[in-house]
């Protein structure tokens, strides 16, 4: 970037001065902030809702059928009632109770799957980058191969063979397909960092491999690791929701995807029961937007060239 490119206006100058005065912490990023806020909101809904709302309403037949949310009318001219503020579904379940339990479940699958996937990725990536040779070849080829296989398709085969699974098993299964990109990313970073001055300096001064890995390299990888983690949370949730919408996954535990599946199958679209599929759709959308904002924010943290643009 050359200086004659942009003639700074007075406003930009003031902004520049303000920027220089304060401690410039790249982590104080508005996108990061809003994204985290959206996700925390959903977590809070799940946590606080558990104490404030009657969760027995999540069982089939515990409420009247197909009541609309408060302030709306359904096709049978029934108004929404305060007892079920977000309406009820076609099986007689309260939508509010359904999302209080379902949304954290969906998020849980995503987080657990990516935590496991990341751990595998960090281990394999560092191993490949450091050990090199045959080990590196095997890990690299395996990651290259597995990254082309869409997780959804293998898991469809798996789950239709096994039937009902628990949330944890589903997360474990998905984890088997989200380790590849962190592995590739970390391997590439480790390979390039190995050549950098400070790592070679550490090596010359006799630091242990462990020290170099975790004290010298890992801190520099943090933004990448976070970004990669968020990306795999997104992939995991998309895969989980995909399985649920195909009628697979946990059959008796409420999740957002399962709710959408039941709504579509019951013809909620044609019957104008928009709250049945709409509320879980909206929550999932909020989740994904939150994750994207965090990812964009992290991009700006790790790549200062992007920060200048916004």
């Amino acid at each position: 970037m050359t200086s004659q490119e942009s003639m700074p206006t007075a406003r930009a100058e003031r902004r520049q001065a303000k920027r220089l005065r304060r401690f410039d912490n790249p982590w104080m990023n508005p996108k990061l902030f809003w994204g985290a806020g959206l996700l925390l909101g959903i977590i809070a809904l799940g946590l606080i809702g558990r104490f404030l709302w009657n969760l027995d309403l999540v069982f089939t037949g515990s409420t009247p059928l197909k009541l609309p949310p408060l302030g709306f009318e359904n096709l049978r001219k029934q108004p929404g009632v305060l007892d079920y503020p977000l309406g009820t579904d076609g099986g007689g379940r309260d939508m509010l109770a359904l999302i209080i339990i379902g949304a954290p479940n969906t998020l849980f699958v995503g987080l657990l799957a990516s935590l496991i996937g990341m751990s595998i990725g960090i281990t394999l990536g560092f191993t490949a980058g450091f050990v090199g040779g045959r080990t590196d070849d095997v890990i690299r080829v395996l990651a290259d191969v597995m990254i082309t296989i869409p997780p959804l398709l293998i898991l469809v085969v798996f789950q239709s063979a096994y039937g009902d699974v628990s949330l944890t098993i589903m997360a474990l299964l998905i984890a088997g397909f989200v380790w590849q990109s962190p592995t590739r990313l970390i391997r590439a970073q480790v390979l390039s960092m190995k050549q950098s001055g400070y790592v070679q300096m550490a090596q010359l001064s006799g630091a242990s491999t462990f020290h170099i890995m975790f004290r010298e390299m890992l801190p520099n990888l943090v933004p990448y690791l976070f970004g990669s983690f968020i990306a795999s949370v997104t992939t995991s949730i998309v895969t989980a929701v995909g399985l649920e919408v195909l009628g697979l996954g946990p059959q008796r535990i409420p999740t957002l995807g399962r709710t959408i599946y039941e709504a579509i199958n019951a013809g909620a679209l044609i019957q104008n029961l928009w709250w049945w599929w709409g509320i879980p759709t909206l929550l999932l959308a909020t989740m994904f937007i939150g994750l994207l904002l965090i990812n964009l924010g992290l991009d700006e943290v790790s790549n200062p060239r992007l920060r200048k643009l916004s």
């Binding site: 970037m1 080829v141 290259d144 191969v145 597995m146 990254i147 082309t148 296989i149 869409p150 997780p151 959804l152 398709l153 293998i154 469809v156 085969v157 798996f158 239709s160 063979a161 096994y162 997104t234 992939t235 998309v238 895969t239 929701v241 995909g242 919408v245 195909l246 009628g247 697979l248 959408i260 579509i264 679209l269 044609i270 104008n272 928009w274 599929w277 709409g278 759709t281 999932l284 959308a285 994904f288 937007i289 994750l291 994207l292 904002l293 060239r305 992007l306 643009l309 916004s310």
Partner: protein
């Protein structure tokens, strides 16, 4: 092979073969690790659904044969691999004597058509918008509106599909709710059929387009930032070329090529997303076939569809990797 070094080619071919082999093996092993006999389960479900099953023995025999349950395991595996290579997945259990491969052959053109169409549209729109986000002369509105619109691009197409269905098919009734063509038109190459296909395909395509263009736009933005500072762009400006000409012929043209490799990484997710869109729109493609097969516990079809989709994904990645050096001469594959 022209500019491609032999070692690179071998590397890519090995990766392709390994991918197909691992996918086929996983699909083969998974049902065998299951504690229950899939053939029995399927027959049991059919019996439960229909009261009694005609030709139960024949179906059971076919199932056992298609899983090869009577042979030793290694022979079963080798037979299976041979069959998979010629796309023979046995017979469907839901529509019994139909071969799985003929069901897939019927569904595949719809999936490919929808995919290629929506891919081209997103690629063009996404890259153009991404470039406009960086370009100095693009209207102020573009720099505010495009990033705002991109927030929605993190949403999987199934969610956008539901919203679009509700707005345009249920509320406004501009487009049909489900299916790939109208019930009243005969499939054929006449205008009524083509019109019906376009009419039915619009919403599924749109639901994919509006949530995937942002991926290309984001990538393009990053690449444009790099290209912007290049000397040849400055030279073009100094020569007094029209800014629009510089944008298209100097900046986008150089930035767009690496985007093609991004495609290779994304295609798996794109296909998986489209399968789900086809399922909610009951579009006559692989997604609907897969969903119906899951409902019917039609295991040969589930295996067949999964394998074919994984095969397509691996093939496209392979082709992109192979063709890329020809498209972008700047790439020099080093013999490693």
């Amino acid at each position: 092979m022209g500019r491609i070094p032999r070692s690179y080619l071998i590397n890519r071919v090995v990766t392709l073969l390994l991918t197909i082999w691992i996918a086929a093996t996983l699909i083969w092993i998974i049902p065998r690790l299951s504690p229950v006999d899939p053939a029995d389960i399927m027959l049991g479900r059919m019996a439960a659904g229909a009261g009694s099953v005609a030709n139960a023995d024949a179906i059971l025999a076919q199932l056992r044969a298609s899983f090869g349950l009577d042979d030793p395991l290694w022979l079963q595996y080798l037979k299976y691999l041979k069959n998979v290579l010629i796309f023979d997945f046995g017979l469907s259990t839901a529509t019994f004597p139909t071969a799985v491969s003929s069901l897939i052959a019927k569904a595949l053109p719809w999936t490919l058509g929808l995919m290629i169409l929506s891919l081209i549209i997103t690629f063009v729109i996404g890259n153009l918008l991404g470039a406009l986000m960086v370009w100095e002369r693009s209207p102020k509105l573009a720099k505010v509106a495009i990033p705002a619109a991109m927030v929605f691009t993190s949403i999987p197409p199934i969610l956008s599909g539901l919203l679009l269905m509700w707005i345009f098919a249920v509320k406004l009734r501009w487009f049909p709710l489900t299916g790939a063509y109208g019930l009243t038109v005969e499939p054929g190459w006449d205008w009524a059929f083509v019109q019906s296909v376009l009419h039915h395909g619009f919403l599924p395509a749109l639901s994919i387009v509006i949530v995937t263009f942002g991926f290309w736009a984001l990538g393009m933005r990053g690449l444009m930032i790099t290209v912007q500072g290049e000397d040849y762009v400055k030279l073009a400006e100094a020569k007094g070329l029209r800014p629009r000409y510089i944008l298209y012929r100097y900046m986008i043209r150089n930035a767009i090529l690496p985007q093609i490799t991004a495609f290779a990484l994304k295609i798996g997710l794109l296909i998986a997303g489209q399968v789900l869109v086809e399922r909610i729109f009951a579009y006559n493609g692989m997604g609907k076939l897969l969903y119906d097969a899951i409902l019917d516990q039609d295991f040969p079809v589930i295996q067949g569809v999964s394998f074919v989709i994984i095969f397509m994904t691996a093939m496209s990645v392979f082709l992109v990797d192979l063709l890329y050096p020809f498209i972008d001469p700047r790439i020099q594959h080093e013999a490693t």
